[in-house]
């Protein structure tokens, strides 16, 4: 059971590796889904269940869905596979970079681990992450309103970016 967190952390890194070395955007999305599922499981096993649910619903269920149909807009109809030309070279090269980074940065002895969980100081009436995010509505209401304003602004930015026919900046048609 103690190795569950280690296995989820390794799956997280494998998902990141799959995104970085993807032969086609379809496989990049697969890697990103794997990384976010592993990250969500990691957060749940630490006890931070609210932020794990936020990750699942907002990131995986919102942003990644939008990415999936943008990939279907943009990717080619006959994609390369993992055993294609040069992909294995990218994977091996990225793993090599990671290993060199671990060795040079002297992180080799760092796989001894004791993970501190959310209930580490005892059970509270409101859990750590629930109570923390609730700060958004009381003391952090300025941050909340700034984030909402930023999201509204992003909506208008997107409207202006995709405007075409010489009224916009990017499109020529």
């Amino acid at each position: 059971m103690i190795y569950l967190v280690l296995a989820l952390a390794v799956c997280f890194v494998l998902g990141g590796l799959a995104v970085a070395s993807n032969p086609s955007p379809y496989y990049g999305v697969v890697g990103l889904v794997l990384a976010s599922v592993a990250g969500c499981g990691w957060l749940v096993s630490l006890g931070a269940s609210f932020v794990a649910l936020v990750l699942f619903m907002v990131y995986l269920g919102g942003m990644l869905v939008v990415f999936v149909y943008s990939v279907s807009l943009a990717a080619e109809p006959f994609p390369e596979g993992w055993v294609g030309q040069g992909v294995v070279g990218y994977v091996v090269g990225l793993i090599l970079v990671m290993v060199v980074g671990i060795v040079v940065g002297d992180f080799v002895g760092s796989w001894k681990f004791g993970v501190d969980t959310v209930d580490g100081v005892g059970l509270l009436s409101v859990r750590l992450d629930f109570g923390g995010v609730a700060v958004f509505y009381s003391w952090g209401v300025g941050m909340f309103l700034m984030a909402g304003w930023g999201l509204l602004l992003a909506l208008f930015v997107v409207l202006e970016l995709v405007r075409g026919l010489s009224r916009g900046a990017i499109r020529a048609v």
Binding site: L17, V66, S110
Partner: protein, 98 residues
């Protein structure tokens, strides 16, 4: 370095390398940006859990909302380039060519 931090550090480094080496499609670069944001989210969540400090849990939520803005903007540029050039291949882009 604390043990589990190595995994999201290396995910961030791998994704930024994938962003630097983006080859054919613009959306591969956007996917690498998204995995960088994911590793930052995990890092920002693990930090208050390890330090048992409650109010820093607002940081990952805030970061996620701004990351949604950035993803929307990147996808808008993808749609604009796909409508202009017919695909999102990076060798088609000519706005910054001299």
């Amino acid at each position: 370095m604390p043990s589990m931090h190595l995994s999201f550090y290396s995910t961030f480094a791998l994704s930024s390398l994938g962003l630097a080496f983006h080859r054919t499609h613009l959306i591969s670069a956007l996917l690498c940006l998204e995995s960088m944001m994911l590793s930052l989210y995990i890092a920002l969540t693990i930090w208050p859990v390890e330090n048992q400090s409650t109010s820093f849990t607002t940081a990952p939520i805030l970061m996620l909302s701004f990351s949604a803005c950035e993803a929307g903007t990147g996808l808008a540029m993808l749609v604009a380039s796909s409508r202009t050039h017919g695909s999102d291949h990076l060798h088609n882009f000519n706005l910054l060519q001299c």
